[in-house]
């Protein structure tokens, strides 16, 4: 007879993950809405379908102490680290209540106080910066761990390999996390990677490497905690490929997903929905019934509406601000 599963998570913990994932999903839906309304512009990339991944990692670190850096699909990371959601929405809509006062936007969220160091738009370009954060922690003899997130597309960039080499060489306490959602913008994994088992990319640099599932929040949390603890303890890098699936298009402007995947493929993968999965778990463990879940969802929808309204109440920057923060101590040349 199979051994009964040992549950290490408390009911409160599971409910929290459920609430947070729902929150991210509705927040992201609201971002798409803002984009359609013309309130958000430029490029906007939502995390729908991938919520469990960020949940697992952000609950495994010491928030505000450890360093987190990611690419442009960054809303969930900010929200889970504790950045005020009104500020996040305001930034996405280019308002002064945003952490960068509307100069960063959706792709460039930063919240130093909460340990979020971006928010970056050049695919793979921020990976050495994450290595540098880990370098600083090691230099100062601190026990901070760096979570260095990238997409599967970034894993092909030369500078990523350069950074892996130095992380291995110098024992940087940095976790390289590939959020493998199986498509680099519109190019599927099998068309962009010579070996689609991306987890192996840490191996040539003598970095402990593995592939894990990112669609089950509870398992994700266990794996993330194990890896974070190992890196903190051993002060060495780690390379993790986390299998995920992007439910939405690449960005808000990507409305033809049929260019790179079939409806059938989507239908199969939508069944891996991390929210549906945790709902099942809540029910199975008798933590919550469907009615309660729906009530929570309604509560979150209302909360997100309120966040959106508050963000919209924040003004746009004034023209004089254009010259601020180019330098920390001087103005750039002014005028056209």
């Amino acid at each position: 007879m199979a051994k009964p599963a040992v549950h290490t998570e408390s009911a409160a913990e599971i409910e929290q993950y459920f609430r947070e994932m729902l929150f991210i999903r509705h927040f992201e839906e609201k971002c798409n809405f803002a984009y359609r309304q013309g309130k958000a512009g430029g490029y906007l990339h939502v995390y729908i379908g991938m919520e469990a991944l960020a949940i697992g990692w952000m609950h495994s670190i010491r928030k505000g102490h450890d360093y987190v850096i990611t690419a442009y699909r960054d809303h969930a990371h900010a929200l889970l680290l504790g950045t005020d959601p009104v500020a996040v929405m305001a930034e996405i809509c280019g308002r002064v209540a945003g952490p960068s006062r509307g100069k960063g936007g959706s792709m460039h969220l930063y919240d130093k106080a909460h340990g979020l160091y971006g928010g970056w738009g050049i695919v793979g370009g921020h990976i050495p910066l994450g290595g540098g954060l880990a370098f600083a922690a090691k230099y100062r003899g601190e026990d901070r761990v760096t979570l260095n997130f990238m997409g599967d597309g970034a894993s092909n960039q030369g500078v990523v390999f350069e950074t892996l080499n130095m992380a291995g060489l110098w024992d940087l306490p940095c976790i390289f996390i590939v959020e493998n959602n199986e498509v680099a913008m519109g190019t599927r994994l099998e068309y962009h990677a010579a070996d689609t088992e991306l987890w192996k990319r840490g191996l040539p640099f003598d970095i402990k490497s593995e592939r894990i599932d990112g669609m089950d929040a509870l398992q994700m949390k266990k794996d993330a905690q194990r890896i974070v603890d190992w890196v903190r303890e051993n002060q060495k890098p780690y390379f993790v490929e986390v299998m995920s699936y992007r439910f939405a298009g690449h960005g808000a402007a990507d409305n033809d997903r049929s260019l790179y995947r079939s409806k059938d493929e989507e239908d199969i993968n939508f069944k891996r929905d991390p929210i549906a999965r945790i709902e099942m778990e809540l029910e199975r463990r008798n933590i919550m019934n469907r009615e309660k879940m729906e009530a929570i969802e309604a509560e979150i929808v209302a909360q997100v509406d309120e966040i959106y309204e508050k963000a919209m109440a924040s003004p746009h920057p004034v023209p004089e601000e254009v010259y601020e923060n180019v330098y920390s101590d001087m103005e750039p040349e002014v005028g056209h």
Binding site: G125, G131, F135, Y139, E162, P332, E333
Partner: protein
Amino acid sequence: MAVMSYRDAVRQSIIDEMERDQEVFMMGEDIGRYKGTFRVSEGLLEKFGEKRVVDTPITECGFTGIAIGAAMAGLRPIVEMMTMSFSILALDQIINHAAKIHYMTGGQITVPMVVRGPSGAANQLSAQHSHSMEGWYAHVPGLKVVAPATADCASGLLKTAIRDNNPVIFVENPGLYATKAEVNEDKDYTIPFGKARVAKEGKDLSLIAYSRMVHVCMKAAEELESRGISAEVIDVRSLLPLDTETIFGSVRKTHRAVVVYEDWRSGAFGAEIHARINENCFDDLDAPVGRVGGLNVPMPYSRILELQCIPNEKDVLAAVEKLG
């Protein structure tokens, strides 16, 4: 004050700053065990150890990015480029990341780092090792760019660069390393950015240059002096921020100007200085502003051809003669 080579002045400034501040460290290719290609970092590994003098793999983009990340966390890296020509591999990190971080974060994060190294032609290093990179960087808002011409300026400006909270590009023309000058040895001797130096006063025309070309202009000025023409030589020193006040002041006094730079003539930073003078001093000019730049060709290996490419005092004198 002590007479010191440019190379020793750069090294001494690094030592002073590393002794003053534990958060200052240096990284680059062959800077430690190999003592640095131009021997600027000689002795630093023995003095400060591997933690603070970091030999990197030959991956300019990667280690520059790591330095930027460390700076984001508050450390103060000094990145040595074996030659600034190699910093082309790190342009994405410097331009697309370091230069924009303070702005994109709305002022939350600063990048107190220095990227320094030889820029310009040395001696028959040919096409891939002879770039003048300062103009490329001076185009980018968010960076500061300095190009000292003397050991004393190198000393004072490097300390300012290391103490600055913004990314600074610090270029050292390889032809300057062995040149000697009186250097202020005060450990806190700094020269503010954005202040040009009047290298020689004059009243008939202004020669405006930075880095090694200042010395070329000084030689030309000597020759002019013997012809009874009094040339003022302005050492720009700091490209970004640029001290237009001193430059314009000189032009308004002399009514004639020639801008001299080693970089390719076309589209270089010297052309920017040239444009600014035209924009702002048009009514003060008695002749069109002249300029002398490097030939618009990849640097050839042959010493004869190489010397043809790099502006010298004869080229400056010819440009002066054209002013009429």
